[in-house]
């Protein structure tokens, strides 16, 4: 007799645990407006990207097309996977001195691991992390970018 009672209570307990589980899912089934899905391309305008989000390396330019990069190459040294190449040129200053300046700051987005070490190491704060994250392109060569805009100059008073 005892075994029959335990047999029945075992079944009832088991069924009870199943019903508790079903209650949890039912709660969500009957509140379908609480869904967590985000419909990505449609919600683009309302999408919140954190300010610190590391999407790509960019070099901000001011309205006079000036940047802060001196071409020192510290970011190139700090990059763990060789995504940055610095090509410098020599300029003559007004006093007739030779001065090193950036010619091309080449950035291979395809190789970048977004570790932030270049931005952290930059002595003049010339490069920062941008929040753009939609980088898909059809041609891999488009992932190699030149960060300094054509014809740009270094800002007044930035020294390395």
């Amino acid at each position: 007799m005892k075994s029959i009672i335990s047999y029945i209570t075992e079944i009832l307990k088991g069924v009870w645990t199943l019903l508790t589980g079903m209650k949890v899912t039912a709660k969500y089934f009957f509140t379908p407006w609480k869904h967590v899905t985000q419909q990505y391309p449609e919600n683009r305008l309302t999408l919140k990207i954190a300010d610190r989000f590391r999407g790509e390396v960019i070099m901000p330019h001011n309205e006079n097309n000036e940047h802060k990069c001196t071409g020192c190459g510290i970011c190139e040294i700090n990059c763990p996977n060789g995504s940055i190449e610095i090509i410098t040129k020599t300029l003559m200053t007004d006093e007739g001195k030779k001065k090193r300046a950036i010619d091309q700051h080449i950035y291979h987005l395809g190789m970048c691991t977004f570790c932030n070490l270049c931005v952290k190491a930059c002595p003049t704060g010339a490069i920062v992390m941008g929040q753009k994250f939609e980088h898909a392109v059809w041609d891999r060569s488009k992932l190699t970018k030149v960060l300094n805009q054509p014809g740009s100059k270094i800002m007044e008073g930035v020294k390395d």
């Binding site: 079944i11 589980g21 899912t25 089934f29 869904h35």
Partner: protein
Amino acid sequence: MAFNIYDFTTLTKSIHEGLSSQLSPTATLAIEWTIVGLAYLLFVALFGLFLVYAERKVCAAFQQRMGPMRVGPWGLLQTIADFIKLLMKELITPRDADKFLYNLAPFIVIIVSFLVISVIPFAPGLSTFDFDIGIFFVTAVSSVGVIGILLAGWSSNNKYSLIGAMRSGAQIVSYELSVGLSLITMIILAETMQISGIVEGQREMWFIFKGHIPAVIAFLVFIIAGTAETNRGPFDLAEAESELTAGFHTEYSGIKFAFFFLAEYINLFIVAAMATTVFLGGWMPLHFGDFEGFNQIMDLIPGLFWFFFKVLGVIFLMMWFKWTFPRLRVDQILNLEWKYLLPINLFNILLMAAVVLFGLHF
């Protein structure tokens, strides 16, 4: 030709009379067969597509998602797009597969499903066969489907498929027993095995209410065993994606896979339709004893709606199971059948016999 949404007998009769007045009896029969066959094909295809869509939306709602939203408004055309994709996919046959059996298996599975649908009464006048051993026919034919699954697993020449098929074999053969016994419980109450007779017997009160305790137990057993029969929900051992990748249909692609897929959903419909017919009064509206006004309002709703309303309710219950519970292990699934469902069922038959014998039902 008067069209009565409450009773399709006039419609079918007028078609029959119209045809036989023009043609010879053989030709009439041939045309009628074609019409019925096409009607079933169309129904299965559309209802299958609908069920796939419904399953996706239901499971999405359980999981706090939105489900398909891209193809068509609210993703309504998603399953159609998927079906077109399946039609266009390459049919792959493994090199060392048993070609004949490999190609035969999906057809066995789908033909069996069609056979069982033929006895289900959708509404007054809307059923094809009405044997005096209808229930017996359902249990007999539906157990043939397992042969298709076994063949699929064996002939694919894939170890995962074979394990899946063997699990499925053990499972379906065991659960046949519970399905059969729970139906027998209700036959004691209905006193007939003819499906139209069973539905007719529920005009005043559905059997699940009429038979109270034993009927409710039989209903629960039937739903559990039926879920196991369809290889769904917590009993999807034969597919068990996290263990056997896709089980018995691992090697199938394109339309052959679609057959298995469709058969699964038709079987879902069959189990729900049988539960509806035997326990929930088929197309009969809900009646409560002496509440005349209430009963008359219920009568206004056509039988076809009642039938599908109840079927979808049962299907929802089975989907709810599937999206809540983890999967059982193969020995546990057999334990559940032989140690729990079968003894309960046998006891329940005695209980039902006593209830009927002493007239304790309502």
